[in-house]
Symmetry: C2
């Protein structure tokens, strides 16, 4: 048969596909057995799904980053051995890689890791997240296709597949993502649900008895139910899923976990522990499979030799098309190449005008203005809020196509994520993984908690995901403790590889955004005030570009060596300056240091860091409207901390400041108590 792009492909016979399935089944079980660790149940149960999918995927092991490849996310990351078996047959991995399964330093870690294993499109393991990332990817694809495809050139025309299990479907993040995907009508998204009715605790009927098909239909998905061991039915379902261009498809594939294992098939005990040598041998015998480890039948190997040729031909054909596209649509192709490389347009930094210091502005409002100035010159900057757009002030009103992205409106640049913080975070990660966009999302800082697993994955995968968190302190005011962050700044800073910015004013906000966009090796959180803040007068204070160093001397001491160092972040920098002024009136030599990003500061040269935190200044005062954690290293043995150690209250911001001790008078009282 032929595909739309004219390349002949050879669909394997049912018999051969079933042999491929058994190959995947036993390669996977062998990995787990050899490692004596891992999850054989789903790989054995989903072997027919994997075999069918593998014979349909458009990928190329010779170029694992080929842009128009089909994406495949194993949302049920514990079935990693199955993915590695697929990648081995396809030619991305070797049998030696499989033999190294789960060993330190191997290319086949316990759960799939993006950047570690060629052919792995996302790190998965935390359940549901993979499916949500796939939704982000499929959206990125549709949006990019809308921009860059032309009537004659469908240069982006692949599919995004995800394989999910019962555990994924139970997670709230998967529901949120599926609801959004149904709303957006992501016709290029195909999720296969390995419905084996077994979870770790036992049969899913102990807790998960909902009608998943009905639920998916209620979310406007095409739902196709098949016997997950019938390769013909699976292939037909994939055909039908591909044909529906306006709905995401859920293929519900009913399977038996650990299929092929005489004594463990259908049982929870097969989920997360090796079968045991004896049972594995019995399974192989029962299916007429050679008993030797890591066996690949000659006809299977031969098929994939041919298949690799087809994949290469496919990619070469695409390359030819792309070369024509480049010729015909030179500017478009150049732009596509730029956005795929992840490089913003030259001179983008010049788009942002500094803020004058004559009137105050809330950092969230400053952030919105900066975002818009950047968006006007960086068309790939795209994002939205979890239903807090008018509060986060993250609407893009500038540039081309400022309207919102929706079903059939994939040119829009504003995404309405709905009140779905967790899926939003994963979605943005999916867009970042896909490429072509610099995605951001936004909510209140207090509600960062809802999406924390997405930040961890972004950090783990070193993605350029940008998380905007406004309403960054108790100065939220009347909405009260549920809406007032207290521990969030500290808890964000615990996440390795995440950079957490909390600018002091509008001009620091410019550089926080700049740093987020420049950063290529990890995610950024930008925490912005709800309340108005003075725009610091840079004619008498340090220039705002110093922000990029993470910590810098905002207002140096005068009249000799400083005896007090005040360090503050965000809205509390203004209080630090006021406190310093009051202390100077009392004859103290005070230095004020702004600390917009502790992680960026840690990357500075040692000499600079010593200059900013000189050992000789032992009277260190830190002011931040949050818990002390993360500041104790700077405070040292003799520092004083002005912050919070309990939740906030509902009340007017001024009343809260007074009650919580955030005034120069209260700070100075604390200093006096310390005997400074």
């Amino acid at each position: 048969m032929t595909e739309a792009d004219g390349i002949r492909i050879q669909r394997p016979t049912r018999e051969l596909t079933e042999k491929i399935a058994d190959t995947l089944r036993f390669l996977s079980a062998d990995q787990v057995q050899k490692a004596n660790s891992g999850h054989p149940g789903m790989p054995m149960g989903a072997a027919e799904i994997a075999a069918t999918l593998l014979t349909r995927l458009k990928i190329d092991p010779r170029d694992e980053k080929w842009f128009n490849r089909d994406r495949f996310i194993l949302s049920a990351g514990h079935a990693s051995s199955l993915l590695y078996s697929m990648l081995c047959l396809a030619g991305f991995l070797t049998l030696d890689d499989l033999r190294d399964f789960r060993q330190l330093g191997s290319r086949t870690p316990g759960h799939p890791e993006y950047g570690v294993t060629p052919g792995v499109d996302a790190s998965t393991g935390p359940l549901g997240a993979g499916l949500a990332m796939a939704v982000g990817m499929a959206t990125a694809q549709s949006a990019l296709a809308e921009i860059y495809n032309t009537p004659k050139f469908d240069i982006i025309d692949h599919f995004t597949y995800a394989l999910a299990g019962d555990g994924c479907l139970m997670e709230g993040v998967a529901y949120e993502a599926m609801s959004l995907a149904g709303h957006l009508g992501l016709g290029r998204l195909i999720v296969i649900y390995d419905s084996n009715s077994i979870s770790i605790d036992g049969a899913t009927d102990i807790t998960f008895t909902e009608d998943v098909e009905g639920r998916a239909r209620a979310m406007d998905w095409q739902v196709l139910a098949v016997d997950g061991h019938d390769v013909g039915a699976l292939s037909d379902a994939i055909d039908r899923a591909r044909e529906d261009a306006t709905h995401p498809s859920l293929i519900v594939a009913r399977t038996t976990i650990a299929k092929g294992s005489p004594n463990k098939a259908g049982k929870a005990s097969s989920h997360g522990a090796p079968l045991g040598a004896e049972e594995l041998a019995a399974a192989k015998a029962a299916r007429g499979w050679p008993l030797d480890d890591f066996h690949i039948p000659a006809e299977v190997a031969a098929y994939f030799d041919i298949r690799r040729g087809e994949w290469l031909a496919w990619r070469q054909e695409w390359n030819r098309r792309y070369a024509q596209y480049e010729k015909k649509h030179h500017a478009l192709a150049k732009e596509l190449s730029r956005v795929l490389a992840g490089d913003p347009p030259k001179q983008w930094k010049n788009a942002v005008a500094p803020f004058p210091s004559d009137k105050p502005i809330a950092n969230r409002a400053a952030g919105g203005r900066v975002l818009n100035q950047l968006a006007a010159v960086i068309p790939e900057l795209i994002g939205g809020s979890a239903d807090l757009t008018p509060a986060n002030l993250t609407a893009i009103n500038s540039g081309d196509n400022p309207e919102f992205l929706n079903k059939g409106v994939f040119l829009g640049r504003n995404l309405h994520f709905g009140v779905r913080e967790h899926a939003m975070g994963c979605f943005v990660n999916g867009m970042a993984l896909y490429g072509g966009f610099i995605p951001f999302c936004a909510t209140f800082l207090a509600f960062h908690d809802y999406m924390r697993p997405a930040l961890r994955l972004a950090a783990l995968m070193r993605l350029r995901s940008i998380f905007v968190y406004t309403h960054d302190s108790f100065m939220v005011g009347e909405d009260g403790p549920t809406h007032q962050p207290v521990e969030q700044l500290a808890s964000l800073r615990t996440i390795p590889r995440l950079h957490v910015w909390r600018p002091a004013d509008a001009n620091e906000t410019i550089f926080a955004w700049q740093a987020a966009i420049e950063r290529r090796d990890g995610p950024t959180a930008i925490c912005l005030s709800r309340q108005e803040l003075p725009v610091l007068d840079r004619s008498i204070l340090a220039p705002a570009r110093e922000t990029l160093k993470g910590m810098y001397i905002l207002e140096p001491e005068t009249g000799g060596t400083a005896d007090i160092l005040i360090v503050a972040s965000g809205g509390e920098v203004a209080l630090a300056l006021a406190t310093a002024a009051a202390l100077r009136e009392r004859g103290r030599r005070v230095r004020v240091t702004s600390a917009p990003c502790l992680e960026a500061f840690k990357l500075q040269a040692e000499g600079y860091r010593k200059k900013i935190l000189p050992r000789r200044i032992r009277k260190r005062l830190v002011i931040e409207a949050g818990v002390i954690q993360g500041w104790e290293g700077i405070l040292g043995d003799t520092g004083v901390f002005v912050g919070l150690d309990d939740f906030g209250h509902s009340g007017k911001p001024a009343a809260l400041s007074e009650k919580l001790g955030f005034s120069a008078a209260a700070v100075i009282e604390k200093i006096d108590q310390a005997g400074w």
Copy 2:
């Protein structure tokens, strides 16, 4: 008409109910207007829902904690002014309370706060969480009724109501909770969905177009759709919801946000900002309402005067029934009174046997044994895992009714939460709020991230929720970085009021559990190792009961004042002891301190704290397999930290220990580098 318990109640006429609705509508709008802050849209739109519900609720303002009262959770917490208006008419709050809306120190904070406002059954505001807590409450109710009701005495026979908005329904946690509620068949749970099709960003059709009714039906809920401004239809729907004893009910009430406001009804602009004096006056005029603030029509006041009499009669009738029940079922009543008071049976601490030090045991296994010994004597100890029971080892196999709790099996003590961490946390909070149980839940420490908002709410409400987190370090091994906690201990410790235990061995685990159960003013997290750990020999080390102090000298220095203090937690305590032994061979005077709970330590007297962290020992070594945050205060200016500053790897635990520097030799090398 009469209710089942024989008390005559007077259903207000349609006309009167509509007047009550308008009273609630304008009392709410007046609060927001006077505070010049808040959310008038939903209170005005859901006024008929609130009025109908209020005339059906079985509560008593004279005893806000009356145990058999109906529970009412305003899941859409931003509609707090509506709840306060209801509580004012009912007699829990005064008009002066309403005038104080959102002011610091008032009983009417911006979002409902449990413990602050009489009649508020849960703190809400973070969307979806209220609905999930209601599911926990309704389960607790069903379970308690199963245990304590007798054929003649339905002493627990109330309903649990929740009012949710579009935002709640969009959240993954609400989906998870609804799926679980449908599975459990919670016939006493009635959720009213104020479907006003407006969210902050605009009409919900910009992002939330799923068929909510179809989705709820797919989860085995009874679904009733009504005009949310038709008090008759609402009342009928509540009747039907109450009649279905085996399914939770979702009443989809279609409403117009800000109903009654001539220019803002149906608009997103009414969601989160006051109407403005002019518009509010126009609204009142349009509905023929007096323009004066906080108006309560005489007939409405009179109705609630009568109503309060009925409520009192209801409660007195229940008291009479309960007195008979006490006589007839003396032991049962005594037990019920005990569990409702939250006091475990006397001598419960004696149930747990110490662990011998002759063989190692994983803390998770020790935790499972302790849990079972406690469960055998504390029948109200109940809980489960998010589908990791065989890994968390949290199954209760002892005591009465160890089977699992399920639809129609409400005697069981093991809950299968499914892979629904976030709902699980909220569920446990709901049980803790309800009373009668000491609830716990469990998952891997790395997946704490999924349920973080639930921990925050538990802390905010000071609930005795117990969170068990096993697999507490990279020693998870082959499952790799997605499953290995690195930042989680630190991030847990950032949450105010939460106590985080990480015991060093099996016997410390006993006291961690003991502390969790003894604690009455906040939640506890118990972090337990996956790997086997030596059981410390208490004949030569400090007694294990010292654990309760949070930090204690496990192995004092000998031969003079210590020059090195080693502090460690969890599995790293054994490494601390080994390191100390090696250092002593080199002639150093080393003290080893175990730090199972930094929060408990902070509650010790200053004298004790100074003894544990004497200023004179400046060479402080801290060992914990996590990030440094939270330890810097103890490390001081001269300490050395052995921990992690990046994510882990997939590999055998021993290989990871080696690579990451968790061996006595590697620690000593670090000390040597520090020039100690």
